[in-house]
């Protein structure tokens, strides 16, 4: 009904009008190149736009408002933390030892690096090996493949507190590692395993089959093909996944509280309890004693994670560009 009304009310002199106001806007924008008529046409389009139903207006406004609100939320969250935190970043926040006066985040930062490296040392070889198996060795319909997919999907959905509890039961208690760097790293390794596997598998699958054929055709075995042709080509994608994994490790707290503990000093062995920056942040925030330092710590943590995630995005873009060019 509305459409008929639209058509009838439009001035007949109007160019063969696109049937809808929405399309008219685009068509109008495109046609605006014809300079002379541009102004008049825009005016007409606008007038036509007033003929859009109220319902169309609402439907147009809703997504725009939602996007605006989302953008505002993101902006506010990040800017608020930065504004509140940056003035309180001081040198003593980075002293090498922690005490309750300087509330230094340095030990936690170093621990985060150690924890990350250790967790990656477990997760990357296993995850990469698993991905190579899924992408290059397993035949379709292999029962193990189905099982591994289900397992990886399940692992990906398990909440981090459940990982923490498992780490507590298995590594800390049963293997007797106490709350330690090692127990925390192993727990985190399991947590990021599905991420590493799925990104690495995707990156391997993105390598053109022609290169596989070329390599096999020259008499290279599967292992050599994987090592010399596939892994180098898939490297950016694999790295993007690893960096995403680093982001998760750095941001993780629930899985670590009961596996790596909350000790503030630097570890002297793999079996010493440590706190990472996120756990440190949690402890500070829930103690509520050093609000300013907490803001400053939040800034450091936020920037660290943002940096890591940006690196991942950039790498992934580079990969997709490379694949497109071939």
């Amino acid at each position: 009904m509305r459409l008929i009304h639209d058509g009838a009310s439009g001035p007949t002199a109007l160019k063969p009008a696109p049937a809808t106001a929405g399309a008219a806007t685009t068509a109008g924008a495109a046609g605006a190149a014809a300079a002379g008529a541009a102004v008049r046409r825009t005016a007409r389009v606008r007038r036509r736009a007033t003929h859009r139903s109220v319902r169309d207006h609402i439907l147009h406004a809703l997504p725009c408002l939602a996007a605006l609100l989302t953008a505002a939320l993101i902006g506010f969250l990040i800017i608020y933390i930065l504004v509140m935190g940056i003035p309180h970043i001081s040198p003593d926040l980075f002293s090498i030892t922690y005490n309750s006066v300087n509330v230094s985040l340095m030990p936690a930062l170093i621990n985060t690096v150690l924890m990350t490296l250790l967790a990656l040392a477990f997760a990357v070889p296993i995850g990469l090996g698993g991905a190579i198996f899924l992408a290059e060795y397993a035949r379709r319909g292999n029962r193990l493949v189905g099982l591994i997919r289900i397992a990886a999907d399940t692992l990906a959905g398990v909440p981090s507190i459940v990982y923490g509890l498992f780490g507590l039961l298995f590594f800390v208690t049963m293997l007797g590692w106490r709350m330690s760097l090692l127990a925390g790293a192993c727990t985190l390794a399991i947590m990021i395993l599905p991420l590493i596997i799925s990104t690495a598998e995707e990156a391997l699958r993105a390598v053109p089959d022609a290169w596989r054929e070329g390599s096999f055709g020259l008499g290279a075995g599967r292992l050599r093909t994987v090592g010399r042709i596939l892994l180098p080509s898939a490297l950016p994608g694999i790295l993007a996944g690893v960096i995403l994994g680093i982001g998760r490790i750095v941001g993780e707290s629930a899985a670590l509280i009961y596996t790596a503990g909350t000790a503030t000093s630097l570890p002297t062995s793999l079996f010493d309890s440590t706190r990472t920056l996120s756990v440190h942040m949690y402890v500070l925030a829930s103690e509520g004693l050093h609000l300013e330092k907490t803001y400053a710590t939040a800034v450091v943590l936020l920037l660290l994670v943002l940096l890591i995630n940006t690196a991942s995005v950039v790498l992934a873009r580079r990969l997709s560009r490379k694949v497109r060019n071939v």
Partner: protein, 325 residues
């Protein structure tokens, strides 16, 4: 279509002569085989079969020596040889009872409509079909008389039987590393040796002068024709005896195609070449023998001259006429 260049004709003639001597040899073998009926060596058993073939042929009163020779060549001196080869993809039978002998140091062209099994047969010669799931083979495929699908090492087989693909597929690395990939795979590590192989392969592929200053550049930056010749050089560097070419010029412009064709004719002096082509003029221009495929069967296989002048089967004739208009 343009006339083949005179040097090409000359080379073809030389190789025609080679082939004739090959046929003569086979006839001799057949004759010797008759005299060796009591010998008990392995060769003798083969020769016996040859003799039997020859006898049955004689019984059939076909006196033509080349016919006997054809039977003999299948057993004794073919480079590649298939016997009652059936190939299945799952439940689909892609090849039916293929019997084919490919003489050494020649170019054999596979022609026929799309999906008739040309590429499939080509890929059985270096077992690239192994990569296809559900691919099953019955019958024999022999390289120099050895069972390809027996306990031959696949990687070694693929070193001996090189392949050039439909689309150029250089690896995303330098020109040098692309060519050195094969030799390195097969255990050559010394820089001096590799340098030599790379240069020789590039020269063989008539690419050295174009690329000698760009050996360290990424191979993906080359033109399509150069990429394909690089792939040929890469295959040569592995040290093959046979070169399989799967429509190597289908993705190239006419000038690059001419380049590759010349190259193929030159390489046939040292390598056995099997080429799949959609382009019948190409088959006529460069090949010594042509096999015509239809629906997974070889309708006929004979010298290119015969296939294109007086084919033995009406289907071959229809196909060739149809194409030539």
């Amino acid at each position: 279509m343009s006339e083949p260049a005179p040097p090409v004709l000359e080379k073809q003639r030389v190789r025609q002569v080679n082939l004739m001597s090959f046929v003569e040899q086979a006839v001799q073998v057949a004759e010797i085989a008759e005299t060796l009926q009591v010998a008990e060596t392995l060769q003798a058993v083969e020769a016996l079969q040859v003799a039997e073939t020859a006898e049955t042929v004689q019984v059939a009163e076909i006196a033509d020596a080349t016919e006997i020779a054809k039977a003999a060549e299948t057993v004794v001196s073919a480079k590649l040889h298939t016997e009652n080869l059936d190939l299945f993809y799952g439940n689909f039978q892609a090849l039916h009872k293929v019997n084919l002998a490919i003489p050494p140091l020649s170019i054999t062209a596979f022609i026929g409509p799309s999906g008739c099994g040309k590429t499939t047969l080509l890929k059985t010669f270096n077992r690239m079909n192994d990569l296809v799931e559900g691919c099953r083979i019955e019958g024999d495929v022999l390289l120099d008389g050895d069972e390809i699908y027996g306990n031959m090492d696949v990687n070694h087989l693929r070193k001996r039987v090189g392949m050039v693909f439909q689309k150029p597929n250089p690896f995303p690395m330098s020109v040098y590393d692309n060519i050195a990939f094969g030799p390195r795979t097969h255990g050559i590590r010394r820089k001096g040796d590799l340098d030599e192989i790379v240069e020789r392969s590039l020269r063989d592929a008539a690419l050295f002068d174009e690329l000698k200053d760009r050996l360290r550049h990424n191979a993906l930056g080359l033109s399509g024709g150069q990429q394909q010749r690089l792939c040929i050089a890469r295959a040569l560097a592995a040290g093959p005896e046979v070169l399989l070419m799967d429509e190597p010029t289908s993705a190239l412009d006419p000038a690059s195609t001419a380049h590759i064709e010349e190259l193929a004719i030159k390489l046939a002096e040292r390598y056995t070449i099997v080429i799949v082509t959609h382009n019948m003029q190409q088959a006529a221009r460069i090949s010594d023998r042509t096999a015509f495929f239809l629906l997974g069967e070889i309708v006929e296989c004979d010298t290119t001259a015969k296939i294109f002048s007086k084919p033995g089967d009406s289907r071959t004739e229809d196909y060739i006429r149809g194409r030539f208009g």
